[in-house]
């Protein structure tokens, strides 16, 4: 439970509960809270709503700014104890406190989104009130945005869990009380979930929950106040991919039964104005350098982990050079599946090294995607990704075959 709570309205129950995890978000919490308030008042009049700031004991005035933000929706502030950080702690506190309010629908947001719109609240909450278990947003995205999702999360999740949810790792979701119960009784928790792994954990548990999933069209990009894609990449990569691999073990009985994939229902198709995505620049030269550097640092590891077909192929890819660089999807799929299997039987230290070694390969795959799609429209790039997903799905028998390696002995 949260270490500290302020509940000035003495709230004991709510129909819709919105959680905003924070850690020193004084610059944005007031705007976010006000827009959430507007969304709740405009689209859910007559329903009992509450906004919860789930904080990491911020010292910058986040709590004061949260309560001072304009709006009439009741507020509740909870916090971890001093010195305890991480988004995962905040969302667990949110789950536990929200459960006590007996809600019909829950929404979780991020505090540092600059362009949050009241209609997002409608799109995340309404499908839950109509019976969905999990709502995942569909933001307007540039073809080079969220390459971890395009290269790993989307194809793997489609292949493993059988649902076509395009933007799983966004940290903004709607969910039902039934899914809340699954979150409160997690089959798995690790330190990685305290930070970057929390979002993908929520999505992964949802996809394995058998509850109906809806994708909500948001009509705009998600713009963060501060974002440096490369600054935290190694940690982000470790925690997200590590969480996916961890949960593959937890949900193996589920995904072994999945064959092909299915679409989800959509919400928000009435949005008339859809913004254009923000431009994203890719440094192909740097991506190529980081891929090549991987050979110096991890070649021995790759020889150990990946099959005899993969390593010569990697040498071949290396020899191509930047101008005509290409990383075949079949090779990438084999690398990901082999990595998941190897991860299963490794010690924590070995797992860290495995993920370190997978990172340059991922950057090579991203470079290949950038080269292949540089002259493509957004729709053509999406078609390209769809084809890659089909290659993953067609090769599901491969992961089923290699997954059991090492079992029983």
């Amino acid at each position: 439970m949260a270490f500290y709570e302020e509940n000035p309205g003495q709230i004991t129950g709510a129909d819709i509960v919105v959680g905003i995890p924070t850690a020193n978000e004084v610059e944005s919490i007031a705007v976010t809270t006000a827009r959430v308030d507007k969304g709740l008042s405009e689209y859910f009049p007559g329903m009992r709503c509450v906004i919860i700031d789930c904080d990491n004991h911020s010292s910058d005035g986040t709590r004061e700014a949260f309560f001072a933000a304009p709006g009439t929706t009741p507020r509740l502030y909870i916090s971890t104890e001093p010195g305890v950080g991480g988004k995962g702690r905040n969302i667990v506190n949110f789950f536990q406190r929200a459960r006590q309010l007996d809600p019909k629908a829950l929404i979780i947001l991020e505090a540092d989104i600059k362009n949050i719109s009241p209609v997002w609240i409608r799109n995340l909450g309404t499908p839950i009130l109509k019976g969905a278990g999990f709502v995942c947003p569909l933001y307007v995205r540039h073809k080079y945005e969220a390459t971890l999702t395009s290269s790993i999360i989307y194809p793997l999740f489609r292949c493993l869990y059988g649902r076509r949810v395009r933007q799983c790792n966004v940290g903004v979701y709607g969910f039902s009380p039934k899914l809340l119960d699954s979150y409160l009784n997690p089959p798995f928790w690790s330190e990685m979930l305290d930070n970057y792994g929390a979002d993908i954990w929520m999505a992964n548990v949802a996809l394995a929950s058998r509850l109906p999933v809806v994708q909500a069209i948001m009509g705009s990009p998600k713009v963060h106040r501060l974002k440096d894609s490369y600054l935290h990449l190694p940690v982000f990569f470790h925690e997200v991919v590590g969480t996916i691999f961890d949960l593959m073990q937890v949900y193996q009985d589920f995904w072994k039964q999945v064959k092909w994939s299915k679409p989800t229902a959509l919400f928000g198709t009435d949005l008339q104005e859809v913004e254009t995505p923000l431009p994203v620049d890719m440094n192909t030269k740097r991506l190529h350098e980081m891929f090549i550097e991987g050979f110096d640092n991890y070649y021995g590891l790759w020889e150990q982990v990946y099959g005899p077909m993969v390593v010569p192929k990697l040498q071949e890819i290396r020899s191509i050079g930047l101008q005509h660089f290409s990383f075949p999807t079949q090779t990438w799929m084999t690398i990901l599946f082999d990595s998941a299997v190897a991860y299963r039987w490794m010690s924590p230290a070995e797992r860290k090294n495995l993920l370190d070694g997978l990172l340059p390969l991922y950057l090579g795959k991203v470079l290949s995607y950038v080269k292949k799609t540089e002259r493509m429209s957004l729709q053509q790039a999406e078609d390209y990704i769809e084809n890659e997903c089909m290659i993953f799905e067609e090769n599901k028998p491969y992961i089923l075959k290699v997954w059991t390696k090492g079992e029983g002995g």
Binding site: R163, R210, F254, Q257, V258, P263, T264, A265, L266, Q379
Partner: protein, 121 residues
């Protein structure tokens, strides 16, 4: 025998699809537009819907939304003369799409895939 509902406002397409799909071992029922389609699905309980996108007075993509909202896991294959429909995000709620052709090889392949899709629970 899996039952397939073909929704298309062109009679010759309904006839062609019916004959070929029956030959391929499916039971086929048809509808010429989206009028009372949800009731028909409720009544006939098809295993899969092949849905024309452009019908007189009916937008297949809107019908797709209705189907998905009421019959969450019912497979729907969009049948279209052009693939420009993909620019409309509503199309991602379809299981597959095929470009209309007198050769139904692709359609039959997609039907087989959609029918063998398996999710636990």
């Amino acid at each position: 025998m899996p039952k397939i509902l073909v929704v298309d406002d062109e009679e010759h397409i309904r006839l062609l699809y019916s004959e070929e799909l029956k030959e391929a071992g499916y039971e086929v029922i048809t509808a010429e537009n989206g009028f009372k389609l949800l009731e028909k699905i409720e009544e006939e309980k098809p295993d899969l819907v092949v849905l024309d996108i452009k019908m007189v007075d009916y937008n297949g993509l809107d019908i797709l939304q209705d189907i998905r909202n009421h019959f969450y896991d019912l497979p729907v294959i969009l049948s279209t003369a052009y693939d420009t429909f993909k620019e409309d995000m509503k199309s991602i709620a379809a299981d597959f799409y095929v470009v209309k052709s007198f050769d139904l090889t692709e359609l039959k392949k997609k039907i087989a895939m959609a029918l063998e899709t398996r999710l636990p629970g």
